[in-house]
């Protein structure tokens, strides 16, 4: 792509009022269709179109930048819009890249816009050029199979994109879901729309679902559609936070049966131990490693003395030894 190697090879030739009906659309440049509603709301709240649209050509005037403004103008019945016109022979990839660079300066692209840019520029740039030159502009990490993931996202139908956005599915989660089949993806979007959880929790849930489906040789949709999970997400008495915790717990019990059993046994044992108030005992995370922790809470030196005395008199050490002895002998893993 020679044009992309030159500095500013195609300058806009004029700023014109162009009849709305004369403006032609080209999906190559229309990378933000799914943002239509948000843009419309914004335009309606402000003065309308402040920045001119970018177009190219004279006989056929094709819109480069400003598709949502154009749609809004049509909806409002505007006759003319102001357009910055690039020459007829301007290279399409160059114009798309200019549009991306100009927009990147004042707003972040969402994952679908990034995916559309990558997909469209893939027509004129090699995969290596895309990774080397376009990824940094779009803030995309150069991870393995990232290009393929973005191409998959770019090929998602518009209604699915809207559902995904409305469901609050994070970009990082979507990059994983992009590799699922359409049915599983739809189930995941529905699930996350009900849970409204953070990116990290979405990723944790996604990974557990993937692992379970791999082990059970079933689809992620079947895992999400499991009766126990369905009951949780359809329970109107639970808050989003409670639903999230319940789904995480169910998936964890499914994927980690032995860990869950030891955790439950520890909680049960702890109840019997009658620890002095202000004393907490915690196993290593996931029971991994050798280090257990005891926390003493106190507000002055006397309280600390009292706490230590109570702890010394308590049977916690021997009780813990019994628990660990059980732990040792009860790895009945089949």
């Amino acid at each position: 792509m020679d044009a992309l190697k030159k500095i500013n090879p195609y300058k806009p030739t004029s700023l014109l009022d162009v009849e709305v009906n004369e403006l032609k659309e080209d999906p190559f440049f229309d990378i933000s269709r799914h943002r239509r509603i948000h843009v419309f709301e914004h335009l309606s709240r402000t003065e309308g179109i402040l920045c001119p649209l970018w177009t190219y050509g004279s006989k056929t005037v094709t819109v480069v930048d400003g598709y949502n403004r154009l749609r809004w103008a049509r909806e409002q019945g505007l006759g003319h819009v102001q357009c910055l016109v690039f020459p007829e022979d301007a290279d399409k990839c160059y114009l798309l890249l200019q549009k991306v660079v100009a927009s990147a300066g004042f707003r972040k692209f969402d994952i679908f816009e990034k995916a559309n840019v990558v997909k469209n520029l893939s027509r004129c740039l090699t995969p290596d050029e895309i990774k080397r030159r376009i990824f940094p502009i779009l803030g995309i990490p150069a991870k393995p199979r990232m290009l393929k993931t973005l191409l998959k996202i770019a090929s998602m139908p518009l209604d699915e994109i809207v559902v995904t956005l409305e469901g609050g599915v994070s970009e990082r989660t979507l990059m994983k879901l992009a590799w699922w089949n359409e049915e599983s993806r739809a189930c995941a979007c529905k699930l996350f729309a009900k849970l409204r959880c953070s990116t990290n929790i979405q990723l944790e849930i996604t990974e557990m679902i993937e692992d379970i489906s791999r082990l059970e040789e079933t689809s992620p949709a079947d895992v999400i559609d499991h009766e126990s999970i369905r009951q949780v997400i359809e329970d109107d008495l639970l808050t989003q936070r409670q639903k999230t915790e319940a789904v995480r717990r169910l998936l964890k019990q499914w994927l980690f049966p032995h860990l869950s059993e030891v955790e439950a046994r520890f909680l049960e044992a702890k109840k019997q131990w009658k620890l002095p108030s202000g004393v907490r005992i915690e196993p290593p995370p996931f029971f991994e490693g050798d280090l257990w922790q005891i926390t003493l809470s106190f507000s002055n030196a006397q309280e600390l003395k009292d706490q230590l005395e109570k702890l010394a008199k308590s049977e916690i050490a021997s009780q813990l030894e019994v628990f660990l002895g059980k732990d040792e002998s009860s790895h009945k893993i089949t």
């Binding site: 393995p144 692992d211 050798d290 813990l320 790895h331």
Partner: protein
């Protein structure tokens, strides 16, 4: 998997740094690979060059040849010293950690073996009363390229002359022919990585079949070599008990237990990045899905109870054949040691000392050495030496 697909192919194009063009390793390559093409590689323009998996780079290595095992303070490390002689492996095991470690397209070995040997000799001479267990199998397979490079002809006789060091060649290949006639003087351990038959068959790419590895071990034992075996990575899957038992039974049907210096066990563990890399290649690969918990060294391991179950079973099966052989756990914590093998490494002076003792007892090397190499080289402190449940004593 067909027989042909398991054949390890010789390098077809060899790119050599000008300064090592006349090194013994490159001379051997020219002699043993008459059909391969040899090229001087301009390393300044290396980035613009496209390498293929069956290419081989021979470089003038500028870094340290002697390295410590990348231990962590959370798990007990064996204190193995790495002789860094090459990078990457073309055997293609599905689970291979090197996929996540090295971002390079082809195998690379170091041609400046003269500097390597000088550095090694200086190092060993500088610590005459320290016993070093040195291996080449950390960043590549020790014998993968040996039929063509003849590196063993350089390194095995070198170690035969050392009073305070032994060499461990760790492999999954059958490439032992060169070793058989070498003067090793009982200072070299030839070690094989072993696994369950189904894992070896399906997940270990072009590695020699299990039976062939054991036949080669027998050959080496007959030539007086000491042996070691590494059951690493161990997988937990339906039928694992029978499969690992079968491998252990086959092992002891081939080799005499008194020539085995040690056997290590290590359950499958991985950095999260490795899981991603494997799943890109094999999306339905089940072995990284299951009860893997995040660990303090950022890796994921099977939940402790599963690891203990694996280790207990395998160790007891080994002890059924060889009650006195040294069995140890690779990168495990004290609790798991105690619950699987019945003792904490600190009860035997720590894992490095335990392995030093196995070397002295079995190989009779370094009997005069009073020090272990571990404190010299391990970059990170080792886990608490006492067992976790000294709590009752504290309170």
């Amino acid at each position: 998997m067909g027989k042909m697909s398991r054949v390890i192919k010789s390098p077809k194009r060899i790119f050599v740094h000008e300064s090592v063009w006349n090194s013994p390793v490159v001379e051997n390559l020219r002699k043993n690979l008459p059909e391969a093409s040899f090229h001087v590689l301009d390393f300044q323009n290396r980035e613009n060059f496209t390498f293929f998996p069956y290419d081989l780079e021979v470089v003038d290595f500028k870094g340290r040849f002697i390295r410590s095992c990348p231990a962590t303070k959370f798990y007990h490390c064996c204190g193995y010293v790495i002789l860094h002689f090459g990078e990457l492996c073309s055997i293609g095991c599905t689970y291979c950690i090197l996929q996540a470690y090295w971002n390079q397209p082809c195998l690379r070995i170091f041609g400046n073996t003269d500097r390597m040997l000088r550095e090694l000799q200086d190092f060993l001479d500088h610590h005459p009363d320290t016993l070093f267990r040195i291996g080449t199998g950390e960043f590549t397979d020790s014998l993968l390229l040996d039929p063509w490079t003849g590196f063993s002809e350089i390194i095995v006789p070198f170690f035969a002359r050392q009073k305070n060091a032994i060499l461990e060649l760790k492999t999954k290949t059958s490439f032992v022919d060169r070793l058989l006639e070498l003067p090793h003087d009982g200072h070299t351990i030839v070690a094989w990585s072993l696994n369950a038959p189904s894992i070896s068959q399906k997940e270990e790419g072009k590695a020699a079949p299990l039976e062939v590895r054991l036949q080669m071990a027998k050959k080496c034992a007959e030539r007086g070599y000491f042996l070691a075996f590494h059951f690493d990575p161990l997988f937990y899957f339906p039928g694992w008990e029978e499969e690992y038992s079968h491998t252990i039974d086959r092992l002891f049907s081939y080799v005499p237990s008194d020539q085995i210096v040690y056997i290590s066990l290590g359950a499958f563990r991985f950095m999260p990045e490795l899981k991603e890399i494997i799943l890109i290649k094999r999306p339905q690969w089940k072995y990284a899905s299951g009860e893997f918990v995040p660990c303090p060294d950022r890796k994921r391991r099977y939940f402790k109870g599963i690891r203990i179950k694996l280790y207990k079973h395998i160790a007891s099966r080994i002890r059924r054949h060889a009650p006195d052989v040294c069995v140890y756990l690779c990168m495990e914590n004290g609790t798991v040691w105690k619950q699987s093998l019945g003792f904490h490494p600190s009860e035997q002076g720590g894992l490095p000392s335990m392995l030093d003792l196995a070397v002295k007892k079995c190989m009779k090397v370094g009997l005069h050495c009073s020090r272990s190499a571990a404190p010299l080289l391990l970059q990170k402190p080792q886990p608490y030496s006492s067992d976790v449940f000294t709590l009752s004593k504290i309170i």
